[in-house]
Amino acid sequence: MAGKVTFDENRCKGCELCTTVCPVKIVIMDKDKINIKGYHPATVKEMDKCIACGSCARMCPDVVITVEKL
């Protein structure tokens, strides 16, 4: 049931909505990065924990996230 999420990083507006809905709490804001819009983009650090539930993508207002099931 492992999943893979991909972020279209430069679309991200750093709103943090995706981080609140991940059941395994792996979506976080990347404070080390600033994208071309000037925001810290969202990212996933522990990808192996992803269960490919799609919640993060469904919550994102800016269609930043693609979710795949491995």
Binding site: E16, T66, K69
Partner: protein, 248 residues
């Protein structure tokens, strides 16, 4: 490897101008996905309002018209009467639909115009910077209600779905929200159903979507979702108000 979620073809590549975390973006996506899934992208014609979603014509990949403030239902009426086999929808904010456009939405409903209205209720005028909307809650602050809406001065918030549900030809009226994932799924279902009802020619359908405006509410996007849940839903219950028998 299977795709669980990816961007729908119903949206263009254009990035939105919405504020970070603005749920307009989610609602756009739900509409676009519904059109795609129902195979309607090729015959859909959308009507963008005047409001934060004014540029919706740039974001939906189907044909689009930009209507004047509040008149999207009239514009959609013109379109649908010309192309009765199209899937026509209006996308309107609460200022647009419930204030200046109140007559147009009531009459589209009365006539039973066969289009679908997506009514984004964020209890505020987003685009113009946070003025009071007809849907602004009692006590909620707005730039034109600096001390909060006072019911003795400005009345009680308008419950549009409840009002339209008294109109016979408004065959589908449902209020949904997008403040969390389960509600987003429900919202999507309602929107899809509304389009199905339109294509069956049953009458007018409207989906009221509770939405946030973190910028003008003065909250973070995450706080805004919570505020919606705790303050809007008690006054604007999430509920189906009308359903044509045929599609129950």
């Amino acid at each position: 490897m299977a795709i669980v979620f990816q961007k729908t073809k119903g949206l263009t590549e254009k990035q939105t101008h919405y504020c970070p975390g603005c749920t307009h973006g989610i609602i756009h996506r739900l509409v676009a996905e519904s059109l795609e899934e129902l195979g309607l992208l090729d015959k859909a014609i959308g009507v963008a309002p005047v409001g934060c979603s004014v540029f919706a014509y740039d974001y939906f990949s189907c044909d689009m018209q930009e209507a004047s403030h509040g008149r999207a239902p009239a514009c959609a009426t013109g379109i649908k009467r010309v192309h009765p086999d199209s899937a026509v929808f209006t996308y309107q904010g609460d200022g647009d639909l419930a204030s200046i456009g109140a007559a147009e939405i009531v009459h589209a409903a009365m006539r039973g115009e066969k289009f679908t209205t997506i009514f984004v209720n964020n209890a505020i005028y987003g685009m113009t910077g946070g003025q009071m909307a007809p849907t602004t809650l009692i006590g909620q602050k707005a730039t034109t209600a600096p001390l909060g809406r006072d019911e003795n001065h400005a009345g009680m918030p308008l419950r549009v779905s409840e009002m339209l549900a008294t109109i016979p030809k408004a065959v589908f009226v449902e209020r949904v929200s997008v403040h969390d994932v389960p509600n987003i799924m429900k919202a999507k279902k309602a929107i899809k159903k509304a389009f199905e009802i339109q294509m069956k020619g049953l009458g007018f359908g409207i989906v009221e979507v509770l939405s946030t405006c973190s910028t003008n509410w003065g909250k973070t996007p995450v706080e805004a979702l919570k505020w919606l849940k705790e303050n809007m839903i008690p006054y604007y219950p999430i509920q189906n108000f009308r359903n044509p028998e045929e599609v129950k």
